[in-house]
């Protein structure tokens, strides 16, 4: 599989991370995720799961703590320089761009020529089974198709870290199963360090190599650890 940028492997480490204001704070003492593995994060609504992902991606300001990937301190970088791909519960596709335009967005930002963008993007469209949708606009896609576009858009840029915020919650049971399988393969193949937030125990069961539970903004336990 082609992708943009050099393939970097390593470990995502989060230390003493504190985010939020007086009314609600999350505090995470120590998390590490290695390339090629998925950390599952579970917890009740409002426990801080999405805030944790937003903090790692750079959308929440840290009160204290550090986020490292190998030796690089990510916490001091703005979101656009962290090289962390993110997939949300809603696909958040750019409505004015086609499927191909959406997938190429990150490549265009890096000022790649159109031919290079296509060369890199089309294999991803094929792999995720959405090549025939390349010229369609987001409003004409089903939930499953849109979510696959969002995943392709996140992966084509070749970032070493992938954050997934309930990415399958909008899909039906059949699609979910296929999407999980595809995601697992991609994380293994690309050696991504991934964090998956989900309400669905099956997602966690099938995908996560390690699972932590968040409760009132703090890790209350590590539920499962595969050897």
């Amino acid at each position: 599989m082609h992708f943009f940028g050099e393939r970097v492997m390593g470990t995502l480490t989060i230390k003493n991370l504190r985010v939020g204001r007086d009314s609600f704070q999350i505090f995470v003492k120590n998390i590490s995720v290695q390339s090629g593995s998925i950390l599952g994060v579970v917890g009740k609504s409002g426990s801080g799961k999405s805030t944790l992902l937003n903090a790692i991606a750079g959308f929440e300001t840290l009160s204290e703590g550090e986020i490292h990937f190998n030796d690089t301190n990510l916490s001091s970088l703005p979101p656009e320089q962290r090289r962390i791909a993110i997939v949300f519960q809603r696909p958040a596709l750019f409505p004015h761009l086609t499927v191909l335009g959406n997938v190429c967005f990150g490549l265009k930002i890096k000022k790649h020529s159109e031919s290079v963008q296509k060369e890199l993007a089309i294999p991803w469209l094929k792999k995720l089974g959405i090549a025939d949708l390349a010229d369609r606009y987001p409003h004409s896609l089903s939930g499953g198709e849109a979510q696959r576009v969002a995943i392709a858009r996140a992966l084509v840029v070749g970032f070493p870290i992938l954050l997934l915020d309930e990415p399958f919650s909008g899909l039906d049971v059949e699609l979910k199963s296929g999407a999980r399988k595809a995601l697992k393969e991609l994380v293994d193949e690309l050696k991504l360090a991934a964090i998956l937030v989900s309400h669905d125990p099956t997602d966690i069961e099938e995908l996560a190599d390690e699972v932590c539970t968040l409760e009132k903004g703090q890790i209350s336990g590590w539920l499962k650890k595969k050897s």
């Binding site: 937003n54 979101p79 791909a85 967005f105």
Partner: protein, 512 residues
């Protein structure tokens, strides 16, 4: 702070200073000149009292008509709701001069309806109320109609199931839900009527019906008394500002309607009742809204040959050029402010940006014109024929509507879209050029059309800054009416209306 936020802050800040400084100067003048003025205070009081009186009455009459129409259209199944909705959009943007002309044509002594009631006479209260009703019913229709459409009907169903009749359900449940929008509409219309100029000048018909706005115009253009104009403008501003504080959301008037949420509760249960409601609604709507518009097309259409093609083309070019300048300035300002309101972290700053962007609603063009001329008389000569003075005033009057268009569109861009773009490496400028601007294409077009429409129909600022040279359609119309050349005036009115309809049609086609 990112660079774009910084640039837009400077732009918005500069606009705010340009807006606030003349008004502050106006108040300073007000405080220093009240003792030295030798005006007849009884006359000033009478003018102030009349201004408030006509605004109150007009707001009330428009409210009764607009609310009833909204209720009938959105809570029953009256045929032709779409037509009424489209026409209410048109009336909101129609130039006051055309409306005044059409009302004289229909309700005047020799008019289509007026000739049957020769004693009543259109000039005076009847003309003022009809003119204001024509414009302002749509504010109630849209705001109240929207809250009716958005309100769920579960409570009404519960009340009905508990045995309450429909009147009780209406007063105790439905009215409580729409009360806020009725009050907001009332204050908004009150502001519009307080600052009404053309309707009072033309349909008032005499010194007894002089409002503050008309008095400001006379002080500047007839008496050349800028101090008196400043005093009158300060009083006017004070009233409008207080009403604006009460209205809260002066730019709430939407361009379109959101879809209906729930089923109808108040639908007539008999065929006869339904037909009666339909007949009464359409009778009043035709009398107040449709007939004046039809009059204009019929009379104006037959008189177009009286106008010289060169005059038409020259005026069209001048009007469009001026309108485009206004549209570009107001859209740029509105975009900058909406961008700040979307991206500033501090909620307090966001609220201030929104507040100051809709503040011009409380300042009529005549008041701001007087303030501008008192503060910097050189504005009269800025650009050829005082054009930039007019552009500044008209752009500020278009700002609240354009701001509303942009801020609504910005709020529709989900956070996840921003997060996705940023996580893919987009900088602030790339976010603006590759995500926000393409997503706001329709809003930009909408804002430009709004600015153009407002400029085409505006007359107050143009009258303050006008010279004998080039004229817009509105000024041409005004001059023809002043010479009692009503045939030609009707023709110019139709041309102006036609131009505005074309512009709105282009906008519609862009949007779909």
């Amino acid at each position: 702070m990112n660079k774009i936020l910084f640039v837009f802050s400077i732009v918005s800040g500069a606009a705010l200073v340009l807006f606030i400084l003349p008004l502050l100067n106006l108040f300073t003048q007000f405080l220093t000149i009240t003792n030295s003025l030798h005006e007849d205070w009884a006359v000033l009081l009478r003018i102030t009292f009349f201004t408030c009186e006509q605004a109150l009455l007009s707001s009330f009459v428009a409210g009764v008509f607009g609310c009833a129409l909204a209720f009938i259209c959105f809570e029953t199944r009256v045929v032709g709701v779409k037509v009424i909705a489209i026409l209410s959009h048109v009336t909101f943007f129609l130039p006051a001069l055309i409306v005044a002309l059409a009302i004289v044509g229909v309700w005047g002594n020799h008019g289509w309806v007026g000739k049957f009631f020769p004693e009543s006479g259109v000039y005076g209260w009847l003309g003022i109320l009809l003119g204001h009703l024509f414009f302002n019913f749509s504010v109630y229709f849209r705001l109240v109609g929207q809250s009716l459409l958005e309100s769920e009907k579960s409570e009404e169903k519960v009340a009905l199931s508990l045995g309450a009749n429909r009147w009780v359900v209406f007063w105790s449940v439905t009215f409580q839900k729409i009360k806020k929008s009725v009050i907001q509409s009332f204050f908004l219309v009150f502001i519009y009527c307080l600052s009404s100029f053309v309707i009072i000048l033309i349909l008032g018909g005499g010194p007894r019906f002089t409002s503050l706005e008309v008095a400001i115009y006379q002080a500047i253009k007839v008496d050349f008394n800028l101090k008196l104009a400043a005093l009158l403008a300060s009083i006017q501003l004070l009233f409008c500002f207080v009403a604006h504080l009460f209205s809260g959301t002066a730019s709430e008037v939407r361009i379109g309607f959101r879809p209906r949420l729930q089923e109808l509760i108040y639908q007539c249960r008999t065929g006869v009742g339904e037909k009666l409601v339909f007949a009464v609604t359409w009778f009043f709507f035709c009398l107040v809204v449709l007939l004046p518009m039809i009059y204009l097309f019929v009379k104006g259409g037959t008189s177009i040959s009286k106008l010289s093609p060169n005059d038409i083309l020259g005026t069209l070019k001048f009007s469009i050029l001026l309108g485009l300048k206004v549209a570009i300035v107001s859209s740029f300002l509105a975009f900058s402010s909406a961008y700040l309101a979307r991206h500033f972290r501090s909620e307090k700053v966001k609220r201030w940006v929104s507040f100051s962007s809709i503040l011009p609603v409380a300042v009529s063009n005549m008041v701001f014109g007087a303030a501008l001329l008192t503060w910097a008389p050189s504005f009269r000569d800025l650009g050829s024929e005082g054009l930039w003075g007019v552009v500044v005033i008209q752009a500020l009057s278009a700002l609240p509507l354009s701001f509303r268009i942009f801020s609504e569109s910005f709020s529709k861009i989900e956070n996840e879209i921003y997060f996705s773009a940023k996580s893919l490496g987009a900088s602030h400028s790339q976010l603006l050029t590759q995500v926000e601007l393409p997503m706001l294409k329709k809003s930009i077009a909408s804002s430009i059309v709004t600015g153009l429409g407002i400029s085409l129909g505006e007359v107050g600022a143009l009258l303050l800054f006008e010279s004998s040279g080039n004229a817009t359609f509105s000024i041409w119309l005004f001059r023809l009416m002043g010479k009692y050349q009503f045939g030609e005036a009707n023709a110019v009115g139709v041309l102006l209306l036609f131009t505005m309809v074309c512009i709105f049609l282009v906008k519609e086609s862009w949007e779909h």
